[in-house]
Symmetry: C2
Subunit: 623 residues, 2 copies
């Protein structure tokens, strides 16, 4: 893993080699399951028969599993667990040299909010970004391979819960802190909270060619908690909005002490102006990062009172408004960007906090929406007809309402306690209004019981008609917090890796395989193919690796079966080692042969009728 | 993790505390989705609407993921990943002290063949056993909690691929080796293969009260590979059958060299007679294990020629026959236990191998079944009408045939390359003939593409009628090898853990929470509850943990929310630590506070409307 340093090196520029052979579903023979055929039963709406494909990818955070969950909609079948922050022996992630280095010794992450890269405010299907609240990291998953391409740890942060969100052309990935900490997390007693603790927003860039993160600049904020953020679109395209809680500066018993104020704040940032400030040198260097301090570098950052302890804030598809939900108030609040801009232009501020001018609530609010009896509004999604859909954690429902008027159009119960929801193309400038999935925190007895530790529950709701219609319910491992749902036509994957004869450490012909000793290092340049390993074709036993106790063993393995879905695994008994090579891929594993003895090597991924015979031995001669 | 030692200690007697509150689905309000209603469409057959439950649990191996996958049938929804051999931050498995010790430093396993505990040859739904081919381990998952209860590493083994299979009253769990190795895996060049390498079968017992494995005895066999095994039933209840390959003693290029002989062997063991031998002292001690060597301790072990390179062997539900499939022959072979017993009684042996009498093929075979054009038969499942179902890896199909006559009744294509299949109640004395799931190794373009690394494919087939009917297809993470499918009525889970005030380290009242220092150890006796942590109720900040750099920190946490599905997580920033406590559970985590600084603590599992406020700080004072 990279820790961010001022001049980011290019050493870890990309996890995967250059890739080819794009799968093109749009021209394929396969049909589409969708909800726009009239008179389908719920069973028929979600059934995807053999020979057809799901219409949408739902890319869901896996929470404290650290992984990305890929589901198909409308079938709600789980297609893949993509390892991001946690090692995964099923794919060898965290075992081979490159991914192990990328993980940097961490064995988990807390992934909350995926963000698909955008072009002109539309998902472009190239990458999905991930935040790790627990260890202050950001990751990018390459959607041509569904492999994690880069991970970076950021300085000065205290848990980037309010990320990842992308600006409308993926200029920045926004990562605001959740917990305020002393800058650098140095020791400072909680009595010094207001003085020494800070909130920090990281503005991260991603080079899509090099698959490489960089930290552009950071913004220092008062020691509030930053919960969620969203980027503006079109008229508001230069802006970012963020919710805050614990503006009370509570340091203990936050369930009570952080819920005292009637209003917390939305923070508004103009990233384009801040970018100019940084270019002009208006920042301080803090642990290597370019840090903007609003007490010294005035302008471009504003606050706005909002209903107490808000959770989500979401910009409308047309970019004209942002909607904040006060989880301890029963209502959603619609704010107008235009009004905010007017107030800013007029210098119409009611006070200042930490050098940040506070806009008057009344001057920016457009409407409060208060569905009778609804409780615990958290997050908002949108359709293509000007409607908003709000999850209600406490009253366990989704409320549909008209953004222009605040009119409540429909309500449907969900089971139970929804956090986020995800609508098809829901965070884009043009959501398509087909489906919404409610990501419920509590399943109770919805599914076959698996004991005290329950799955979460995801409920698929048809939003294509006037009324919402609960269509299907699926269990899910802990714990999706947020998901984005993208049409399948936007994701172009490769099927196999290119046969690149110049790739470092790759071997493509059996006669080129070899085992080379350099001092106490043994370098194996091997091949995996149906149905054998070839480590050294010239040896008496080409599938034997002979080393001496204490040797460092470096095994480069190329899968020369250039055939879709022919994966080979490589496991060594009693060595806690397993990795795999995809068709055309070269990958490396390193270890020290500490134990003398005889250890079978075998293909761990069933590959052919003679898969059981795809094995060899590592012989470690005693010292 | 326990390494097996001759006198197994009771220290790790059980992972989880005593449990109560069984969920009783049989009396619940929820209905059943099934395939026995006439005229249902495929979509209707698999659709389980909100308010109903799946009818079957499919307990699937997760292969080199190391985990158990729980699917619901007929919906094919994945309900849970149960961590077994691999750490899982989603549930804290491998992070808390007990599960970390149980894993013994390993970060993966290669789990192939689950076996549900049996009573009178029927799944009893109490435990499911798991083998780890890569690291010679066995595990038990308690099906009242779906938590791993015990793991044991076995001596003298080279990859127990042919396990786990249970005898009809779970007297033994059978674990035969796949790779022959020098006993103890000491160094021995492959030139000494025939002389020094051996196959070993472990006969493992499991104390269901203490949740504790023991190794009863082992059997030394010639250095063949042992692929799969099955236990007899009723008339054959004292017997175990195992397939072998590489009876050629090949040590390299096994895809060719291990496929030379026209016949390999089935090995038959009478475990009841062997048990008596062991009781009578007829064994040698080898690395602490009681080892039966057929060259010295004659009788009770026999071999039988079989079609070359067989994979599976399966005993019929009535226990009268066993069916072996020659993966490199195009046929299934039906053998008669009665004929085998007669040949043994008559001493009718054609030769002897490694002290093992070899029965004549012709005297034991009942029938060869050779479906025209079918290739690569691997495994057999059964229904309630005397029919067998065989997966054909190469011709990608399932063949249904009548065991009594060998008549081919039906064939259906699957997509593609099936390994095992699992029928509902399929390995019991009374399979119910409702469904079979084909566990396919190759998915190609069955699902939305996730790049070069494909999901596997599981196909649900309705076998309730005269003809098989392909009903649904579901993707799955790598890599199910085998699964067993049990009716939901047989699994009785608990919903929450008992409030046991005598449980070590548990704290049930806020006023009893405390932080105690003992030298450089800091012991925290804390509570997790909606929506706060209480580590020391008497402190100024009850949710703060103050330690000194270098302290060993031991945190005991009890979840006092005795309410179904209210789980609390516990993560500390930048410490690679996360675990969780289920309702009523007490669990412990230990670490050394190596870094001075200020580190947020927070609940990682969304638990309430004020979940975001459920946090605190760990302050580590510099040395």
């Amino acid at each position: 893993m990279k820790k961010w340093v001022p001049a980011a090196s290019g050493l870890l520029a990309g996890f995967m080699a250059a890739t080819v052979f794009f799968a093109d579903f749009s021209t394929g023979p396969k049909g589409t399951a969708s909800n726009d055929t009239a008179n389908k039963s719920n069973a028929e709406k979600v059934y995807v028969p053999y020979g057809e494909l799901d219409e949408y990818y739902m890319l869901s955070s896996g929470g404290h599993s650290g992984q990305l969950f890929v589901y198909g909609l409308p079938s709600m079948r789980k297609i893949r667990t993509v390892p991001v922050f946690t090692p995964d022996p099923a794919t060898g992630y965290g075992f081979d040299t490159k991914s192990k280095e990328m993980l940097g010794g961490y064995t988990w992450g807390d992934f909350h909010h995926p963000a698909i890269s955008e072009t002109d405010g539309e998902y472009d299907g190239k990458f999905v970004f991930a935040n790790d609240v627990a260890n202050n990291r950001i990751a990018a998953v390459d959607l041509s391979t569904f492999h994690t391409a880069d991970i970076m740890e950021m300085p000065n942060m205290g848990g980037p819960h309010a990320g990842t969100f992308v600006t409308q052309n993926t200029e920045y990935i926004v990562m605001p802190t959740r917990f305020s900490v002393p800058i650098g997390k140095e020791y400072a007693p909680l009595d010094e909270f207001e003085e020494k603790y800070k909130g920090v927003v990281s503005m991260v860039t991603f080079d899509q060619e090099k698959k490489d993160f960089d930290l552009a600049y950071q913004i220092m904020l008062p020691p509030w908690s930053y919960d969620l953020s969203d980027a503006g679109k079109k008229v508001s395209g230069d802006w970012i909005v963020m919710t805050t809680y614990n503006t009370e500066f509570a340091t203990t018993n936050n369930e009570i002490n952080a819920s005292q104020n009637d209003r917390d704040y939305i923070v508004l940032l103009n990233w384009k102006e801040l970018e100019k400030k940084v270019a002009a040198g208006e920042y301080e260097e803090v642990n290597g990062a370019k840090m903007i301090d609003p007490r010294k570098h005035k302008g471009s950052i504003y606050a706005l009172p909002v209903a107490k302890s808000p959770h989500g804030v979401d910009v409308t598809p047309d970019g004209t408004r942002f909607i904040a939900s006060g989880k301890l108030a029963p209502l959603m609040t619609v704010f107008s960007f235009e009004k905010a801009f007017e107030a800013i232009k007029a210098g119409d501020f009611e006070t200042e906090k930490f050098g940040i001018p506070v806009l008057p609530y009344d001057k920016v609010v457009e409407r409060e929406v208060d569905p009778p009896g609804a409780l615990g509004p958290l997050h908002t999604q949108f359709d293509d007809r000007g409607n908003a859909y709000n999850t209600m954690f406490i009253s366990s429902e989704i409320v549909k309402w008209k953004v222009e008027t605040g009119e409540i159009l429909d309500r449907t119960p969900v089971h139970y306690s929804p956090g986020h929801s995800t609508a098809t193309e829901g965070d884009t400038a043009s959501p398509d209004g087909k489906w919404i999935v409610s990501l419920n925190k509590i399943a109770k007895d919805n599914f076959l019981s698996v004991g005290p530790s329950h799955p979460e529950s995801m409920e698929l709701i048809d939003i294509s008609g006037d009324k919402m219609s609960l269509t299907y319910t699926a269990p899910v491992d802990p714990e999706p917090h947020y998901a984005q749902t993208i049409h399948r036509d936007k994701i172009k994957t490769i099927k196999i890796y290119e046969k690149d004869e110049n790739r470092e450490h790759s071997v493509w012909k059996q006669e080129d395989t070899r085992i080379e000793r350099k001092g106490n290092e043994v370098h194996v340049y091997g091949i995996a193919m149906r149905s054998k390993f070839v480590f050294d074709a010239k040896a008496e036993r080409p599938d034997e690796i002979k080393v001496k106790q204490g040797d460092k063993v470096i095994i480069h393995l190329t899968n020369i079966d250039l055939d879709q879905d022919i994966t080979h695994g490589f496991g060594i008994m009693d060595h806690d080692l397993n990795y795999e090579v995809q068709p055309g891929q070269t990958s490396t594993i390193e270890f020290t042969a500490e134990k003398a003895g005889t250890f079978p090597i075998y293909c761990t991924n069933f590959c052919s009728a003679l898969h059981q015979e795809m094995s060899g031995y590592m012989l470690v001669e005693p010292k």
